[in-house]
Symmetry: D2
Subunit: 284 residues, 4 copies
């Protein structure tokens, strides 16, 4: 089903739901999903509305202007309009660990992820043949301490050529520079292998082992310039015990990582995520 | 905060959200929560809207008629209007097992449950002194195979006298008769100590032990005439292992039961539950 | 590390742990893991002991006779001895749904599963190219109502040729006949897409939807002649809500299925499972 | 059933299980539970053995000396011997929040906790009447910035008079001083209302809200001089969403706190906890 999705943010005030739904109804829109959230502390209103596009009386390219005119301006709204077609184009960055990558490819192959995957980029070549068996182009761009900036330029060029909408770091073991991030604000999803904010940085499973925690976790978040500090999209956990060694924590954790990352991707693709002030609103 | 809650059900059609929100806005209603659900198979629309009452221009007693007139009739709506004050009046039925009862009393004492508890009824007298220490009247009505109908009459009389809105069976070990149930349609909440529909009936922990399941559960549901078959409100589970004896399953399960029941009560009290065709819609 | 694993079952009596550990110690065995379980109802004792093989003074082929002589006979033990090398040989049966298969192949590729996978057998050819990209032979054996017995003969022949130790039904959508099962007692692992014993048989997600459950699950079990009634190895669950359609239940459930099946395989491969009277003891 | 429980710690070496079980068997001990753990990094061996006392040929007061003589010295063991009778004596400290206290009292009342509770101590008098309804003495010892040391002296005196074995801080909102802690090494259990090490210190729910986490938790740990940094006994978590306010986080968290604390108490009472180097081994 072809649908349009509107994400709205504005100062909280009366009549917003009424006006937005009146607008959609007036052009024969069949509302499929409406969700709203009020942040009372900040006095802000957030809304997501999805409706069927086929019977809608406005053309895709008319909607933004009309909505701004009839509703948006009146309430001081910031809003974004999305369609579920063409599908968003997702690039995957990966290093050597395959669990998150294979999980995504498996879901995509099974028709569970409504994205196109025009390319996979890796700083190693290990996973090339399997990625290609799934019919997806694989680019090997080595990265080391001296070529980082130029490697990122090359990556950005590829992303542009392939018209990539957002990037998934599927256990990509390189820190991304600020310049790169600026090209994809709230459009780079990383999976961190701890229950943030515990165990920021490298080797979180080692840190979890040292502290003797009874539960480990994983966190999918948008990448911002501060390491592991961006808006959290999803978190999951798993129970561990005193006898679990670090390699066992890694293995238990990998199951959590791949499920967490895939959920975050799905929320992002379905336009169910609004990021604001380093937090996310997830309309699931 | 004084609020009104409207639960609506009608054939699915365009314009419902728009009209309901327009209605509330036209009388200066500040919408706090809106949730909707479309059952596509049945072509039915369900909605819950909550709004602030203090600034609303209609009086409490005017709302139903106005809403019916301006919106309800047009869409063929069935709807119910609730207020969060006075608080709903909840009776608790209990036998000898105290875990669910104490959990509810503890929450109530801590101000977490927005209900009045005018009485506890039990077929045993064991728990009388502690119930009374919480300041709640306790009625002991013995039940046996020969006096069941008359005991239920006595219970019903008490419920009527105390203007009870709904009943919670907090591990009340007696089957309730159809005549009693008819007085409280979808207003008797039972906790069954299994993950329904597995292990219907008596001794579910024994049955779980026999089958060798790795997870046990509890189910809070509205009571209907068919045993353990009413609309499910909430379910929770806990992991068990081969070495857990039946008494251990009972103990692990009791933690699950009390949490499940308390969640179900909270959903019911917040008017977040709509029951339809033996299923529930929970707008949490 | 080369290790030996002993699984023991006998009538409960004093001195078993003492004698078994004395035996291992007397031949310089370094015990890595000892677990025991007493089924008090049946008066039975179960034990699993794992020890380092390299420094052990008995040769692999001497152990059974010596143990029987010095310990086993005295206590009336039934016991089995396993080594973690050569790796057990696992066949995968699959139909069209790929999520469990890909999950297993991904884990195997990442070195997480200590098995050899000599072949994948399917009644469809859809997944052939990806299986082969993982370097594993794929056999397409069509099955229909008229050729079932002969198809199973062909499968059995392949399993024998490839010296298969156990079989995993990774959403293989065919019922296995009793003759086939007899060849692999407690060595065929199936994943059923419900929280057994709820929703036995076909279309469990439809049944879960109809009943309005709030949690769905998956069950990995050994295959016995009675459908979906064999010893349960592992179960997992996931929360669902009223708005989840059947296709969404399927998708949520697939994540649960693949994790549950992979855990069960791991327990089986690590010889942590003892099946007895249609239940399992899992020494994890 | 009367039972003895031995907790052992020593350098890892061959023959320990064999010798310990031989010792117990030689005096006709029926082993009920044996668990062991090897910390390979530190080369340390930990063991817990429980056996029936009634048929054991040694008297309670003979066991320590005999075991030391026959087994302990040879392996350089540190060990502790416990009996499940008389029951351990547990003091509860509480302030105004009642959820953990009531949960413990409820379990105790239901016979689920094998402890005696000789007293509850609080810096407020609010919960006095209900504690007394459960038949337990309540002592009100006000604490403020100027009387802290003397209040703790008074508490210690009460604990001594009532022969208290261990202390549970059931949301006791005062920091305990080092002098007090030294009297109860690894015998004061605190419940911290976050998933440690995230959100150490005051107001963890506020911090969780600020960071926008998707899961909150609670941690039961032994109290050491460094705040919220002692050995973790148990952790549990619960899912939260963007719309949950801080009061809602508090309420969701309280359910997690009480379950986590009660589990930790049970492990401690059953002597299933060994603390070592700021971590715990839990033999459940």
């Amino acid at each position: 089903m072809n649908k349009a999705i509107l994400l709205i943010q504005c100062p909280d005030q009366k009549g917003i739901v009424s006006e937005v739904s009146r607008f959609l109804y007036s052009y024969n829109g069949n509302i499929l999903e409406v969700d709203q959230h009020v942040d009372e502390e900040m006095g802000l209103f957030f809304m997501r509305a999805a409706w069927e596009l086929d019977s809608f009386l406005l053309k895709k390219e008319e909607i933004i202007a009309k909505f701004k005119d009839e509703v948006g301006q009146k309430f001081g709204m910031e809003f974004k309009l999305y369609f579920n077609f063409p599908k968003p184009r997702m690039a995957i960055f990966v290093s050597k660990l395959s669990h998150c990558l294979f999980d995504i490819l498996g879901r995509h192959h099974a028709g569970q992820l409504e994205v196109d995957i025009p390319l996979v980029i890796s700083n190693h070549s290990d996973l090339k043949s399997i990625v290609e068996a799934f019919g997806i182009p694989f680019f090997h761009i080595p990265v080391n301490s001296s070529n980082k900036a130029s490697a990122e330029s090359e990556q950005l060029k590829l992303l542009k050529e392939h018209q990539v909408d957002f990037v998934v770091l599927a256990r990509y073991m390189q820190i991304i520079l600020g310049d790169f991030i600026k090209n994809f604000p709230n459009r780079i999803i990383n999976i961190h292998h701890s229950f943030l904010p515990a165990f920021v940085g490298a080797r979180p499973y080692h840190a979890a082992y040292e502290r003797g925690v009874k539960i480990i976790g994983a966190t999918a978040h948008y990448v911002t310039e501060e390491l592991d500090a961006g808006p959290i999209i999803e978190q999951e956990v798993a129970r561990v015990r005193h006898h679990n060694t670090i390699p066992e924590l890694v293995q238990i954790g990998q199951d959590v990582e791949k499920v967490t990352l895939s959920k975050a991707i799905k929320y992002h693709v379905d336009r169910k995520v609004m990021a604001f002030r380093n937090k996310t609103i997830i309309f699931y």
